[in-house]
């Protein structure tokens, strides 16, 4: 399908982009890599009069390490995230995520900011980032603000971004010693969107799990924390019975729907199994 008609605007700075967005309001749409937004435009689900391309804002593509952790520019591509030496070193569980997504071409084009702002319940970068306690830095007409990524999503395709606001940076804090994570994605083939995604980050102490965060993707209107399942595991020695219990509780916290990719029943069963496996895998990594 061809694209509907629009005017293209290519701001050079974040401020310019925010003021164009504020000025054109609902008539404008932002585009990063375009892998989501151009498809929904081709399908005529949206018909913006103005497309604001962020590509010319060169200072939004970076990965920087500092004393607090790492900062990832919103325009960083999924390929650059996967290849980043600092991400591989500090957060291997995050570096592994893009390789479970899409195709080489789409990873070369698609950005981390686009994946998050698109706010698909199945967005693959979200679960592990939420488990790592990542924050989203937002720029807008009134200046900058920072929100926990966990509070960023408000519904399918919806975020806390207000009028004229852009996501500019994702901040991932350093983790305590003996902390590691795992993201397990169930899909027909890896190119496909997740039927279920389970992200887990654990802090290990001997054979016990000192701290844990579990985030489920594609089983609710937004990615969700499975806090009851976390409580089951936290501070305990990990054994098979406990993992079984954690999986069961997590599957009760999931609120999946039936769709073309899978039934609610199937998703619930997969959450049970994948939560168990992800905790096991993260505990292994955290040794």
């Amino acid at each position: 399908m061809r694209l509907p008609k629009f005017e293209y605007l290519g701001p050079k700075t974040v401020q310019e982009a925010c003021s164009l967005l504020a000025q054109h309001g609902d008539k404008a749409k932002v585009m990063a890599g375009g892998t989501d937004v151009l498809n929904v435009m081709k399908e005529r689900k949206i018909r913006p009069e103005y497309l604001i391309g962020l590509r010319a804002i060169s200072d939004l593509s970076y990965i920087k390490a500092d004393a607090d952790g790492i900062k990832i520019g919103a325009l960083t591509t999924l390929t650059d995230l996967a290849n980043s030496a600092v991400v591989k070193e500090k957060f291997p569980c995050l570096a592994e995520v893009p390789m479970k997504m899409a195709t080489v071409q789409i990873r070369n084009m698609g950005t981390i900011g686009g994946n998050l702002c698109n706010a698909a319940p199945s967005a693959d970068t979200a679960p592990i980032l939420i488990c790592l306690g990542a924050k989203a830095k937002i720029a807008g007409p009134k200046g900058e603000r920072v929100v926990a990524l966990e509070d960023f999503f408000t519904g399918p395709g919806k975020t806390v971004l207000g009028k004229g606001e852009l996501l500019v940076e994702i901040q991932v804090p350093n983790q305590p010693a003996k902390t590691a994570g795992a993201y397990l994605k169930m899909s027909r083939v890896s190119v496909d969107l997740a039927i279920v995604g389970v992200g887990v980050v654990v802090t290990r102490e001997g054979d016990s799990c000192k701290d844990i965060k579990i985030t489920l993707g594609a089983v609710a209107p937004t990615p969700i924390r499975a806090k009851k399942a976390e409580a089951v595991v936290k501070g305990k020695k990990i054994d098979d019975a406990l993992l079984e219990e954690a999986g069961k509780i997590a599957s009760q916290e999931a609120k999946p729907i039936d769709d073309v990719r899978g039934s609610a029943f199937y998703r619930t069963e997969i959450v049970k199994v994948y939560t168990k496996r992800a905790i096991k895998q993260a505990m292994e990594q955290a040794k």
């Binding site: 399908m1 061809r2 694209l3 509907p4 008609k5 629009f6 005017e7 293209y8 290519g10 375009g34 892998t35 151009l38 498809n39 081709k42 497309l51 391309g53 590509r55 390929t79 390789m99 899409a102 195709t103 080489v104 071409q105 789409i106 070369n108 084009m109 083939v189 890896s190 190119v191």
Partner: protein, 156 residues
């Protein structure tokens, strides 16, 4: 409103007046007559429209031509030099990695970029590298064999 843009394709400069809602695939095929690049799904799934931009593969059906301005674009037309097929093209011919040929331009671009970034890929690397290119005909085996033959130092 149409705008005048400058594209560099296979080393050649082009100047074309286009609407901003035209994709790179459309402009290559319909304005520049470079019809080697194919389109099928037009939504980023099949890879038949794959071109190399600044050294990395992209699906030209999801790339705006206005955003390709000033970047180095490579299409299948530029791969054979002086009437001689590129090593990847020759390997596809030698291994029978082509049936109807519709996926071939995109497949060759993906294989070329893969080998440029990773000259000694494993079979797994090759399969991951072409995961974004769908072939209805060959069952992939011969394509993978063709690429792996080059990975092992060009033996046929």
């Amino acid at each position: 409103m149409k705008r005048l843009i400058h594209l560099k394709v296979n080393g050649e400069p082009y100047e074309v007046a286009i609407h901003p809602y035209r994709t790179l695939a459309e402009v290559l095929r319909e304005e520049l007559d470079l019809i080697g690049t194919k389109e099928a799904c037009k939504q980023g799934d099949c890879g038949s429209c794959t071109v190399i931009m600044d050294g990395k593969t992209v699906t030209s059906c999801l790339t705006l031509a206005v955003e390709a301005e000033g970047r180095e674009i490579r299409t299948i037309e530029g791969e054979a030099k002086n009437g001689k097929l590129s090593p990847v093209q020759q390997a596809f011919v030698d291994h029978g990695a082509i049936q109807c040929g519709y996926c071939t331009p995109g497949m060759v671009m993906s294989a070329t970029a893969l080998l440029e970034q990773n000259p000694k890929p494993t079979e797994h690397d090759v399969r991951m590298g072409i995961a974004g290119n769908i072939c209805r005909c060959t069952g992939y085996t011969k394509i993978v064999e063709a690429i792996l033959a080059l990975a092992e130092g060009g033996k046929k």
